[in-house]
Amino acid sequence: MERTGPTKITSKKLIAVEGLDEKNFFGKLLPMIGISDFQIIDVGGKDKFKDKFPALLLSPGFYAPDRTSMVTHVAIIRDNDEDEAFKSVKSIVLKTGLKPPEEHSRFANGTPQVGIYIMPGPKIKGKMLEDLCLQSVQTQPAMRCVDSFADCISKLPEQPKNMSKAKVQSFLAAQPEIVNSLGLGAQNSYWDFGSTVFDELKEFLNHLK
């Protein structure tokens, strides 16, 4: 039986993400682009970065007793569902004494190297990972049904609060084996990881190689 217990830092390369969906998504994507030695840390929500990131840095395995960093890279990835998301994450990093990057989708030259990526990326319309995934399958036949369904529900008196999430759910419902989350969709390769819409994200992640 697998031993369970508190999560320990076991890799030199950490990817801090918002939640379980992102954990499953990057857990699938990273090995596909040749990155195998990494650890994805789920901070439990975009509003949690401020409180969780300083706590993460205290975890055993982040700094050695001589205060050198045992972690070489920290990638922080979150959605863009607030104004100035990059600036907000940069400020959180600065407060911990680490050096944040000056630009989005870049890594700073510190120890560890800290990179920030705000979803879905500057070239993709939308505010979240869901938008990026939907763009990757935009030409698939199922998306015609998804768009049609989205168009229909957009006319309801009470519409879904988050249309991107609604579209993701309807896309997943159109698959032969239905799964109920973006992350599990990624695990089942329902998103097209070969699509060029992922290029900028992959370029960012390639720093972890």
Partner: protein, 349 residues
């Protein structure tokens, strides 16, 4: 009480500074990282007028015998050329208490001094003839710079002897799995101060039928749990004994320091939060600074839960001592950062 403690050359610790100490401090870390040594360092500092403390400390570490071969073991890597230094910055001040411990060397034989301090063996290495027979403790405080004191502990005729011992108000106590229990005197103090009800209230968390405590004729505490007769508290199990011990000790060391090694020892996890509730409350009301160690995740979670519900969040800290080779450091968690880590189920030990 101290804000910062700095220890050098004591047992496994070459250099360690723990800053921003709080009223209640929970300390964790891997085996042999220096947790118990950290408590031991504070114990030596607060009882610096009593040269027996290093010997007592060995008893707490299950080394209950006196021998000249043990004196080296107090020094990091058994290097007696570098003194042990323990420095405590007094709470909310710039004042410091300092203790320096050096080896006490036996007086060399006069005939040998006339020739040489050392002998050269056939193998070519040299060995000093001067043996260590004890420890010299030098205590000073910037609060009373004129009153630096020196004491010694050593072995003479196969018995422990001391010099320069000074009477001084006891400022703290070390509780560990192997420390002898001083029920009699501590119980009497609690009884005199009319605090038995508070102790009984805590013990009720473990045994709801607890209604009274009495000191028996041989100096043990008897407990009334609604049986036809009283029974010794020691027979109520390790958890009961631990709660009673911590309770009686805290009431006895008002304005002092209580050091508790392996605080979770003997306690079921369901009771640990009750213990922490009581410790936070008494640390605050009795003005006791508490340093406790643990290896237990359940104990840390209980500490966190108790802290979340308490009014004393800012008066508690969590520290992890890390050590690799000769380098040690303390990692400080505020109550907020500890809670964030535990909420995320991230390792903190």
């Amino acid at each position: 009480m101290y804000d910062n403690i700095k220890i050098s050359n004591l047992r496994g610790i070459k250099e360690l500074e723990v800053k921003n100490l709080a009223q209640v401090n929970l300390i964790v870390g891997n085996n042999a990282c220096g947790k118990t040594t950290f408590l031991e360092g504070i114990f030596f500092l607060i009882g610096a007028m009593n040269p027996m403390l290093p010997v007592n400390s060995n008893i707490f570490r299950n080394l209950p015998f006196a021998s000249n071969v043990l004196w080296d073991t107090y020094f990091h890597n058994m290097n007696t050329n570098t003194p042990i230094r323990i420095e405590g910055q007094v709470r909310s001040s710039i004042e410091k208490d300092r203790l320096t411990i050096r080896p006490r060397k036996e007086k060399p034989h006069r005939d040998l001094i006339a020739h040489s301090d050392t002998l050269v063996t056939p193998a070519g290495d040299s060995e000093t003839l001067i043996k260590i027979e004890g420890l010299n403790l030098e205590y000073s405080s910037s609060r009373h710079p004129e009153k630096a004191t020196a004491t010694s502990v050593y072995i003479e005729n196969d018995k422990i002897a001391t010099e320069g011992e000074k009477a001084r108000e006891v400022r703290g106590v070390f509780l560990g799995p192997a420390t002898p229990k001083d029920w009699k005197e501590r119980f009497a103090t609690v009884q005199r101060n009319k605090k038995l009800d508070e102790v009984i209230s805590l013990l009720k968390q473990l045994e709801p039928k607890t209604s009274d405590l009495r000191l028996n004729e041989v100096g043990f505490v008897d407990i009334d749990v609604d049986l036809p007769h009283l029974i010794p508290a020691n027979l109520m199990g390790g958890g009961f004994e631990k709660l009673l011990e911590v309770a009686l000790t805290m009431f006895n060391f008002q304005h002092g320091i209580v050091l508790i090694d392996e605080i979770e020892n003997g306690l079921h996890h369901s009771v640990q939060q009750k213990l922490w509730d009581a410790v936070f409350n008494w640390a605050n009301t009795l003005d006791v600074q508490v340093f406790a160690t643990t290896h237990s995740t359940e104990c840390i979670k209980a500490f966190n839960e108790s802290l979340k519900a308490s009014l004393f969040k800012s008066q508690a800290k969590f520290f992890r001592i890390e050590r690799k080779d000769d380098i040690s450091r303390s990692v400080e968690y505020t109550s907020e950062l500890l809670n964030e880590s535990i909420e995320s189920d991230w390792e903190v030990r």
